[in-house]
């Protein structure tokens, strides 16, 4: 595609063990890069939830690609068209690389509004119906670096029929062709990359067909849609992703939509996924929780001893309801429920806990504040609670991805998995014991 510059350089590919590499030459001048497996920066209209630019900049090693969603932006189309210089300048984020997706992964989408010619997004003022023409007009107004092509993703609910799934694959391919046609004739979109969307629900042959057909089009990368947390169990998800990625070219990135839990991320990386959306730390923040799972793979007992206590000391602290993880894996409402990777700071046990959220964490929150203060901010409904939790959760989540890449580079994925999943298993044991008491 004209102006396409983004390059994926894979340094390691182990079948069934993930891909390690760097997406290079990103951004208008090509000076940015993004390591994979990695994730995008989740935002509301270019702003990481709760964080002003100053607080965001206390975080180092943030992903170089920021995710925007049309569900936030569509209602501002007229403003952006009048502004003319694109969203980057509009938001005052002059150095950002933007990826524009259709929906916000943190907000479950209502179904039943997709037609042959349109998809709908929900903004602050309600539903906005997008035709390909309007969708592309929005992309011209936003001027992102990459965008997700228009897609019919209404197949994530259980019991979606094969007929409906086939329709979704066909529509999505038709949308892609139309988008590409407009794209190629738009000067404003020169150098902008299009990601094709792979649908197919939980039907293997539809997944494969969708992947194969999309790969024939001039796209820069692939969005894997309809596999989000709550839509299916991980075994099925792994199976589908493995089958689809076989159909996709090696040299183009695969972005998985709607999956963010560390255990699911690990499994999906092994199935061949490169990129994720970082909405998970935001969801954790919104329920007043802090990520605290360990991802330290250091064999050095001293080093391990330094990083581990935060988690080891958590024995029995993780879970407050006593039954957060046992069920709900298949429940779409699961998204709002606490997982075993976090602690609930609203819980009384933290009312006089003078430790940082995670011992040894270098984030602004952990360096400056204690659990007792976070607990106070949460019970008094203070806005700073969201700010501080978001800082920590963002730092923790991106550090997990860094550890994941390091583990892939050093053949330590098994150690990392044991660390991340083993704890989860162990935690479930503890919860069971708690309950039986």
């Amino acid at each position: 595609m004209a102006g396409s510059r983004m390059k994926l350089e894979l340094s390691r590919v182990v079948q069934g063990r993930g891909r390690l590499g760097v997406l290079k030459e990103l951004g208008k001048t090509g000076q940015h890069s993004l390591e994979v497996p990695g994730c995008l920066l989740h935002t509301h209209l270019g702003t990481v939830p709760h964080l002003t630019q100053e607080t965001l900049q206390t975080l180092s090693n943030l992903p170089s690609v920021t995710q925007l969603t049309l569900s936030n932006i569509a209602e501002h189309q007229e403003v952006l068209e009048e502004f003319k210089d694109g969203f980057r300048t509009f938001a005052g984020l002059h150095d950002a690389v933007f990826y524009c997706s259709l929906h916000d992964p943190a907000t479950p989408c209502l179904t039943g509004y997709t037609t042959n010619k349109t998809v709908s997004v929900w903004g602050s003022g309600g539903r906005i119906e997008l035709t390909v023409a309007k969708f592309m007009a929005l992309q011209k107004a936003v001027q992102p670096d990459w965008y997700q092509s228009m897609a019919d993703g209404e197949t994530w609910q259980n019991n979606t029929s094969r007929k409906r799934v086939r329709k979704s694959v066909d529509r999505t391919l038709a949308h892609l062709d139309e988008c590409l046609l407009v794209h190629q004739n738009s000067q404003e979109l020169e150098g902008v990359e299009v990601f094709g969307v792979v649908e197919g629900g939980d039907f293997l042959e539809e997944r494969v067909r969708s992947g194969r057909e999309t790969a024939k089009r001039p796209v820069a990368g692939f969005c894997l849609d309809g596999l989000q947390t709550g839509s299916m169990d991980q075994a099925l998800r792994t199976q589908l992703i493995t089958a689809v990625t076989k159909e996709l070219p090696e040299d183009k990135p695969r972005l998985l939509q709607g999956v963010g839990r560390p255990d699911e991320v690990l499994a999906c990386v092994e199935a061949g996924v490169d990129l994720f959306e970082s909405f998970f730390p935001f969801q954790v923040t919104e329920r007043g929780c802090a990520l605290c799972f360990s991802f330290d793979t250091s064999p050095d007992p001293e080093l391990a001893g330094r990083a581990a206590p935060a988690v080891l000391e958590l024995d029995g602290e993780r879970d407050t309801s006593g039954e957060t993880q046992q069920n709900g894996d298949l429940n779409p409402d699961d998204q709002s429920r606490m997982t075993s990777f976090e602690i609930n700071l609203k819980d009384k046990r933290y009312k006089d806990d003078f430790r940082p959220l995670v011992e040894g964490c270098g984030c602004y929150c952990c360096k400056n504040h204690q659990r007792v203060y976070l607990h106070h901010l949460l019970v008094t409904n203070e806005l700073l609670a969201g700010v501080l939790l978001m800082i920590h959760n963002t730092a923790h989540y991106h550090a997990f991805f860094a550890a994941l890449r390091e583990a892939l580079a050093n053949d330590k994925l098994e150690v990392l998995k044991r660390r991340v999943l083993g704890e989860r298993g162990r935690q479930m044991e503890i919860n069971k014991t708690d309950k039986s008491e």
């Binding site: 509301h44 209209l45 702003t47 990481v48 939830p49 709760h50 964080l51 002003t52 630019q53 100053e54 607080t55 206390t58 936030n72 209602e75 501002h76 403003v79 009048e82 502004f83 509009f90 938001a91 005052g92 903004g123 602050s124 003022g125 009312k351 006089d352 003078f354 602004y364 400056n368 504040h369 204690q370 007792v372 203060y373 607990h375 106070h376 901010l377 019970v379 008094t380 203070e382 806005l383 700073l384 969201g386 700010v387 501080l388």
Partner: protein, 417 residues
């Protein structure tokens, strides 16, 4: 310039220091250096040295009710140049409670704020909880809104909590009467406030680390105010607040009570006008001789999208700003104005709380910048000119100047053109 300045000749410094120190209690952890006095009005610029750092006055103190400033981190607050902020004894005494805050090394440690803190007595909240409270000589009795338990806030209890909070400036418990009430209740409250001041002074466990301010009461009655001033200025306290105002009284009464108070307060001690924070009120009351101010307004109004500007305020959420691509105030040096436009903030209000934080930062910056400009003009000897320019910018025309402000300024020889 008529001002006695400490930053003038070096030889005088230690001498002046001595005289200041002598006027204060020997152990008082507070020093006030008058840097400049306006030759026309009663305004002064001072360096107020408190345990955690020096404060340049006139100063506006943002209010962090629950040990946090509305979504702003302590680093951001420090970055804006804030040298002192407020915490509320009533709220913090309820949650998380004085014992816990003491364990956290006081409110400073609890919220990790390195600069100065001022705490109120907790009494003011009783005005809003008046149905729940009963005032006796012993103290204020009220029902806890959390568990319904009856609680007595006595002068001793208030100081004990504030000692646990470890604030740099504590306020005495006063008998608060709404400024719209008149009659014998006001007189009773004034006398009781004097008696409570003595009990507060006696109860202060940390006079070497924590300054206790008296609060001048007396409602809108000049004779009662005068009597209260006579009594309280005889006490050896490091500073004075002017209380019982800013509660819905006529502005004509308000400024007369302020100027009466500053006329009789000692020059070498700080004067804190409680609950005042609108820009015009700040400028006028500095001219009347006040040094310190606090108000929830700038941070509260920010959360509703109201940005303070030299020409009044700007409602960021209003439709007219959807396509307005300028900063809130092109001359404002704050991080919000340096990066974001009115249009972006307008849009962001629909998507994320960070929009509120951006306006909060701007509004605090506005208040602090205003006070720094006021101070500069006092030091430069051109405060009256500053006032005239300020009023011209704030009001579209002369006939929109509030009458009370014109009168108040005339009383200190500033005529507006």
């Amino acid at each position: 310039m008529a001002a006695t300045t400490e930053c003038g000749a070096d030889v005088n410094t230690s001498e002046n220091n001595m005289s200041v120190m002598k006027a204060l209690s020997a152990a008082s952890p507070l020093t006030l250096r008058v840097v400049a006095e306006c030759p026309v009005t009663k305004a002064r610029a001072c360096d107020l040295i408190l345990p955690h750092c020096a404060v340049s006055t006139p100063v506006f103190m943002p209010v962090g009710t629950q040990g946090t400033l509305k979504g702003i981190t302590v680093d951001q607050l420090e970055g804006l140049g804030c040298e002192i902020c407020l915490g509320n004894t009533y709220h913090l005494g309820m949650r998380p409670g004085p014992d816990l805050i003491e364990k956290a090394n006081g409110l400073h440690g609890f919220m990790n704020w390195k600069r100065n803190l001022l705490t109120d007595s907790g009494g003011f909240q009783m005005v809003s909880l008046v149905e729940l409270s009963e005032v006796t000589e012993e103290g204020v009795k009220f029902k806890s809104p959390y568990d319904g338990e009856e609680i007595l806030l006595s002068p001793e209890k208030s100081i004990s909590i504030q000692n646990s909070l470890g604030s740099d400036i504590m306020m005495q418990l006063d008998d608060v009467v709404s400024s719209t009430v008149s009659g014998p209740r006001v007189e009773e409250a004034m006398h009781r406030s004097v008696r409570w001041l003595d009990r507060c002074i006696a109860a202060n466990k940390n006079p070497d680390k924590q300054n206790l301010f008296a609060i001048i009461q007396g409602g809108l009655d000049a004779e009662l105010r005068q009597a209260c001033l006579d009594e309280m200025t005889q006490r050896d306290v490091p500073g004075f607040a002017i209380g019982g105002l800013s509660g819905g009284e006529e502005k004509d009464d308000f400024w007369r009570m302020v100027t009466l108070s500053t006329d009789h307060l000692p020059r070498e001690k700080p004067r804190y006008l409680m609950g005042v924070g609108y820009a015009v009120d700040l400028v006028v009351c500095v001219a009347l001789g006040c040094d310190m101010f606090d108000c929830v307004f700038p941070t509260r109004t920010a959360r509703f999208g109201s940005a303070l500007v030299p020409w009044g305020s700007l409602q960021v959420k209003h439709k007219q700003y959807a396509k307005d691509f300028q900063p809130i105030d092109p001359d404002c040096p704050c991080p919000t104005c340096k990066r974001h436009s009115r249009a972006y903030l307008h849009a962001l209000f629909k998507s994320d709380t960070a929009a509120m934080h951006y306006i909060t930062i701007h509004n605090i910056a506005y208040q602090l910048t205003l006070m720094r400009s006021v101070r500069r003009s006092i030091v430069d000897g051109c405060f009256p000119e500053f006032i005239r320019t300020f009023m011209k910018r704030m009001f579209p025309s002369r006939d929109q100047y509030p009458g009370w402000a014109v009168d108040a300024l005339a009383s200190v020889d500033v005529t507006l053109d």
